[in-house]
């Protein structure tokens, strides 16, 4: 199941790219699970995902909690709390 992942702000900077396509194993079923799996890559991923409480996510452009299931998702975004306006 290939998914488009987007990164924004300091998450993007730490990882070094704004998007990538990934194909997580079947036991990765939630956004939090996806973050855990990506963090195993170490380097910028480990840095970006070090403090889970500072991460927010969207699945197919809708804001969701990190324990949201990712089955069927086409696009998942991971980013810091928003600071707009």
């Amino acid at each position: 199941m290939a998914i488009e992942i987007l990164y924004f702000a300091w998450v993007r900077e730490a990882i070094g790219q704004g998007s990538e396509r990934v194909d997580p194993p079947a036991d990765v079923t939630t956004v939090a699970g996806l973050v855990d799996w990506l963090a195993l890559r170490g380097g910028g991923y480990a840095t970006a995902f070090e403090h889970r409480e500072r991460l927010r996510a969207a699945v197919d452009q809708a804001f969701v909690p990190l324990d949201t299931a990712i089955a069927g998702a086409r696009e998942i975004a991971i980013f810091p709390p928003v600071t707009g306006g």
Binding site: A9, A58, F63, F79, P80, T83, G84, G85
Partner: protein, 145 residues
């Protein structure tokens, strides 16, 4: 009517005001947020989530229009690099009566601070850092229920 624009170019207040007033609705409330230069910031850069940002802002405007029976809700948000004095965001609400326009305007600016995917990075001379989310923004957004 709903107007949502996310743009890298400067916000044209005269054009936005003309659109807001064209509704023949009696009351127009606006809020404009400007880049402040009073705390040493030399540049403010805004990143956003294209597509999701517009959807979030349109949903907020639709909620405001329904809740306060607005003639119009407009949010124009700038992204990319800006300098002190530049307009970051412009909100306009148009209604038959002033109370509705003013409340809806406050609602939109409070909620877009926490409910739309924008991220600010401030530069002070050679030092750049991402702005942290503020609890006061969450509190302001929460008061609208």
């Amino acid at each position: 009517m709903i107007r949502v624009v996310v743009q890298e170019t400067p916000i044209d207040l005269a054009a936005e005001f003309a659109l807001a007033e064209a509704e023949d609705a009696g009351a127009v409330a606006t809020f404009t947020g400007l880049v402040r230069g009073d705390d040493g910031v030399t540049e403010l850069a805004l990143e956003h989530y294209p597509g999701a940002t517009e959807r979030a802002l349109e949903a907020l405007c639709a909620e405001a229009v329904a809740r306060w029976t607005l003639a119009k809700a407009a949010v124009v948000h700038r992204v990319g690099p800006m300098v002190p004095g530049d307009r970051v965001v412009f909100v306009a609400t148009t209604a038959r009566h002033r109370g509705a326009a003013l409340e809806a305007c406050a609602f939109l600016i409070d909620r877009l601070k926490t409910g739309a995917p924008f991220w600010k990075r401030e530069r002070r001379g050679g030092d750049a850092r991402w702005v942290e989310a503020r609890e006061s923004d969450d509190a302001a957004a929460a008061r609208w229920g």
